[in-house]
C-alpha cells in the first residue's frame, strides 16, 4: 500500500496531572475509513482536538502527506490546519451556523477559495466576472452536496431549524465543501435512529469511494464501525490497545477486556 495520509507518532497530551493521550501512534490511509473507538474518557476527542489544532500536543508528531508534500500539523495554527493542510472536522455536539441558511453554511465552508476569487473583497466589491463565476461554481458544489444529503428543498431555511439527523448530515456536507484531504468525524451517528444510521453509512462509504477522501471516525455505534471501517484503532485510558481490521479487533482479548471488563474482575 502507498504511504499513509496521516501518521500520528508518539502523541501525548497532558492536562496538568491528567494524561489524556499517552504515547499513541497509528496511521490512516487515503481512501480508507479508519475508526477510533474506545470507552468513554479514553481520549478519542482529545486526539481529534490535537489533530485539528484545537490543542497543541505535549509530545508527538502529526504528519499529513499527499504526494511529495507534507504538513506537520502540530506546528500549525488552528485555522491553518483547515486552510492549508485541509483537515476538516465535525463536532460531537453539532456546531452549525444556526442563524444562517443551509446554503450559506456550505458557502462559508468554501471561504478561502472564494476570498481569493473576490480579491480579498476588493474585486468582489467591484463585482468582477471572475468572482461571480467562482461564486456560481461554489453554489453548484453546494447544490451537489445538498442533493447527496437530500436537503435541496431546505437550502434557504436557517440551519438551526432542521431536524437533528439533517443537521448531522449537513455538518458532514459542510466539512466536505472545504474539499478536505482528511475528514475527521466525531460521533456522527450519535442520536440517530437506525434508518438515519444506515443512511449515514451510505454517505460515509460514498465519501470514501467517490471522493477518495481519507476518513477518521470516532464512533460508539458498533454497527456503523464494524460495517464500514477499513481499520479500527482502539484506545483505552489514553493508550492504544489494539489496531487492525474490524474482524481482528473484534477478537482481540484486550479490546474485549476494555469493553466488558476482565474475567477475573480486576481492572485492566
Amino acid at each position: 500500500m502507498s504511504h499513509p495520509l496521516i501518521e500520528v507518532e508518539h502523541l501525548t497530551m497532558r492536562f496538568g496531572g491528567l494524561l489524556a493521550v499517552d504515547d499513541v501512534s497509528f496511521a490512516a490511509w487515503p481512501g480508507q475509513i479508519t475508526a477510533v473507538i474506545g470507552p468513554n474518557g479514553a481520549g478519542k476527542t482529545t486526539l481529534y482536538n490535537c489533530i485539528t489544532g484545537f490543542y497543541k500536543p505535549t509530545v508527538g508528531r502529526l504528519t499529513l502527506r499527499e504526494g511529495d508534500r507534507t504538513w506537520l500539523l502540530e506546528r500549525m495554527l488552528g485555522f491553518e490546519i483547515g486552510q492549508k493542510a485541509r483537515v476538516a472536522r465535525t463536532f460531537q455536539n453539532i456546531r452549525l451556523f444556526g442563524g444562517m441558511t443551509v446554503l450559506e453554511n456550505l458557502l462559508v465552508a468554501q471561504h478561502n477559495k472564494l476570498m481569493r476569487a473576490s480579491g480579498w473583497s476588493l474585486l468582489g466589491l467591484a463585482g468582477v466576472r471572475g468572482f461571480r463565476e467562482a461564486e456560481a461554481a461554489a453554489i453548484e458544489l453546494a447544490r451537489g452536496w445538498l442533493e447527496r444529503i437530500g436537503l435541496v428543498a431546505d437550502a434557504d431555511r436557517p440551519a438551526g431549524e432542521l431536524p437533528y439527523g439533517a443537521q448531522r448530515r449537513l455538518e458532514i456536507a459542510r466539512a466536505m465543501c472545504t474539499e478536505p484531504r482528511l475528514l475527521c468525524l466525531d460521533e456522527p451517528a450519535a442520536g440517530l435512529n437506525p434508518r438515519e444510521s444506515a443512511e449515514l453509512n451510505q454517505l460515509l462509504t460514498s465519501i470514501r469511494d467517490r471522493d477518495g477522501v481519507g476518513v477518521l471516525l470516532i464512533e460508539h455505534d458498533m454497527s456503523v464501525v464494524m460495517s464500514i471501517s477499513d481499520r479500527v484503532v482502539v484506545l483505552d485510558y489514553g493508550r492504544k490497545i489494539a489496531d487492525g481490521d474490524p474482524a481482528q479487533v473484534r477478537r482481540d482479548p484486550a479490546v474485549i477486556r476494555a469493553y466488558l471488563g476482565a474475567e477475573e474482575g480486576v481492572d485492566a
Binding site: F97, G98, E135, A155
Partner: protein, 473 residues
C-alpha cells in the same frame, strides 16, 4: 362575569393601593426652598396623587375587563379617561392631562386589540394580504428613502426639523457602521464613539492647521479611524462577549482622556473652534465669500439664505449614510461578510473550516471604524466646534442601543430605532421633566413586545431558490 366582578374590583383596588403607596413620596410630597433662613419645607400635592391613583384604578379595571372579554365596557372606560384627559378641566399639571389621556388611549387600544388582531390575521392569510405584505416589506425601505429625500421640500421642514433630521441621519450612519461590528460580526463594542472622535479630530486638526478641505480629509479621516479600529482589534482578538465589551469601553475612555489631556495637539477641554464647513464644489455656505472663493448663493445666482447650509448638510449626511448602507449590503454578500456572520454564530466551527478569525475580526473592526470616522468628519464640519465632551460613553451606549433595539444586523431596524431613540426625546419635550420617564417607558414597552428588536427578520445573503421568497418551503 357577574361572579368575577368583585375579584376584578379587588384587583383594581390593590393596584391603586400599590400606586398610591409608591406615589405618595414621589408625587405626594415636594420639598420647596423657602428662603435661606428657614430652609426647606414640604408642599403637599395630594390632588395630583389622587388623579393619578384614580387613573391607575380605572385603567387596571379596564384592562381586567378587557382580559375577561368585556371589551365594550373597557373601551367606554378608555373613552372616559381620554375625554377627561383632553378636557379643559383644570388639573394641577399638563403632565396629568397627558397621563390620563394616554391611559385612555392605551385602554381603548387594548379593548380593540382582539378585533384588530383577528382582522390582521385574516387579512394576512388571504392571498392579497400575503402579496401586500411582501410588497410592503420590499417597498418600505424605498418609501422611507423617498420621504427622506423629499423632506427638505415639505412644509414641515423648518430649521428645527431639519436639525433633527441631520442628527437622526448621523445616528443612522453610526448605527449602520456599528451594525457591521455588533450585528454582523457579533463583537460587542462599547467604545464605538472613539472612532467617531478620531474622525472628528482628524478633520478639525487637518482643516484648521493644514488648511485641508472637507472632501480631501473625508477619506483620510476614514482611514485613520480604520487604523485605530485595527489597533483596538489586536489586543481584544481573544476576548469574547462581556470581556470584549469592557475592553472596548476602556478603549473609548482612553481616546477621550487623551483628547482631554493632550493639550498641545487637541487644545484639551477647550476644544477646537472655527472649523470650516463642508463645501459644495468649492463653494462655501457663508454670506460673504472667503478671499478667492465663491459662495453657494453666488454660484447658483440665488439670494443668500442660512437654510441652504442646513439643506446641504442634510443631503450630505443622507448620501454618506446611504454609502454606508450600500457598502454593508454588498459586503454581506461577499465571502468576508458571510465569514463575519459565521464568526458571530460559532467561532470554533469557523476555525475548523480554515477561516482565519484574526483577519476576519480585524476587517470588521476596521470597516466599522472607518464609517464612524466618516461620520465624525461630517460631525466636526457641521458643528464647527468640537471638544472631548461630545464623545462621552453615553454616545457609544446610544449607538449600541440603536443597533440592539433595531434588531441585530437589521439595516431598516437601525433607521426605525434611530428615529425613535433620537426623535422621541425631542417630541416628548412638551412633557418637561417627565420626558425621560416617557422615553424609558417606551423603551421598556418595545423590549417587552419585541425582545429581539424592532426588525428581527434576517434576509439570507444568497438563495438557492430565488423564486420562492417563503424560504424554501
Amino acid at each position: 362575569m357577574g361572579a368575577r366582578l368583585p375579584a376584578i374590583l379587588k384587583d383594581a383596588g390593590l393596584t391603586a393601593f400599590v400606586a398610591a403607596a409608591l406615589g405618595i413620596f414621589i408625587v405626594g410630597f415636594r420639598t420647596i426652598d423657602i428662603g435661606s433662613t428657614r430652609g426647606l419645607s414640604f408642599d403637599y400635592e395630594f390632588v395630583d396623587l389622587a388623579i393619578a391613583v384614580a387613573t391607575v384604578f380605572l385603567g387596571r379595571l379596564g384592562l381586567q375587563l378587557a382580559a375577561a372579554g368585556q371589551r365594550l365596557p373597557a373601551i367606554a372606560l378608555g373613552v372616559i379617561l381620554f375625554v377627561v384627559g383632553v378636557s379643559p378641566l383644570k388639573m394641577p399639571s399638563t403632565f396629568l392631562h397627558w397621563f390620563v389621556a394616554l391611559g385612555g388611549v392605551a385602554l381603548i387600544l387594548r379593548g380593540m386589540w382582539p378585533w384588530a388582531q383577528a382582522a390582521i390575521g385574516s387579512a394576512g392569510a388571504s392571498p392579497r394580504g400575503v402579496a401586500l405584505k411582501q410588497a410592503g416589506t420590499k417597498w418600505f425601505g424605498w418609501a422611507l428613502l423617498g420621504g427622506a429625500v423629499l423632506m427638505p421640500f415639505s412644509p414641515m421642514a423648518d430649521q428645527k426639523t431639519m436639525d433633527l433630521g441631520v442628527l437622526i441621519l448621523t445616528y443612522v450612519m453610526l448605527g449602520w457602521g456599528l451594525n457591521i461590528v455588533v450585528g454582523l460580526a457579533g463583537l460587542l463594542d462599547l467604545g464605538y464613539v472613539a472612532f467617531y472622535a478620531v474622525g472628528a479630530y482628524a478633520y478639525a486638526l487637518l482643516s484648521t492647521q493644514h488648511g485641508m478641505g472637507f472632501w480631501a480629509v473625508l477619506p483620510v479621516a476614514g482611514m485613520i479611524a480604520a487604523l485605530f479600529g485595527v489597533l483596538l482589534g489586536f489586543p481584544v482578538l481573544r476576548l469574547r462577549g462581556d470581556y470584549l465589551a469592557i475592553v472596548t469601553m476602556g478603549f473609548g475612555e482612553i481616546i477621550r482622556l487623551v483628547l482631554l489631556n493632550w493639550v498641545d495637539l487637541t487644545n484639551g477641554p477647550a476644544g477646537i473652534g472655527s472649523i470650516p464647513g463642508p463645501t459644495f464644489f468649492g463653494a462655501t455656505f457663508t454670506e460673504r465669500a472667503p478671499a478667492g472663493g465663491q459662495t453657494f448663493s453666488e454660484m447658483m445666482g440665488i439670494p443668500f439664505s442660512s437654510n441652504h447650509r442646513l439643506i446641504f448638510l442634510y443631503y450630505l449626511i443622507l448620501a454618506l449614510a446611504l454609502v454606508t448602507h450600500l457598502f454593508t449590503q454588498r459586503m454581506r454578500r461577499l465571502p468576508v461578510g458571510r465569514a463575519w456572520e459565521a464568526l458571530r454564530e460559532d467561532e470554533t466551527a469557523c476555525q475548523a473550516l480554515g477561516i482565519n478569525p484574526t483577519n476576519t475580526k480585524l476587517t470588521a473592526f476596521a470597516v466599522g471604524a472607518m464609517f464612524a470616522g466618516f461620520a465624525g468628519c461630517f460631525f466636526a464640519a457641521k458643528q464647527r466646534f468640537i471638544s472631548p465632551e461630545s464623545f462621552v460613553f453615553i454616545e457609544s451606549a446610544i449607538i449600541l442601543a440603536i443597533v440592539v433595539l433595531g434588531g441585530m444586523g437589521s439595516q431598516i431596524g437601525v433607521v426605525l430605532a434611530s428615529i425613535l431613540l433620537i426623535g422621541m426625546p425631542e417630541w416628548f419635550r412638551d412633557l418637561g421633566n417627565y420626558r425621560m420617564l416617557a422615553f424609558g417607558l417606551a423603551m421598556v414597552l418595545i423590549m417587552v413586545y419585541r425582545p429581539r428588536g424592532l426588525v428581527a427578520h434576517r434576509e439570507p445573503s444568497v438563495r438557492l431558490h430565488p423564486a420562492d421568497p417563503g424560504g424554501g418551503r
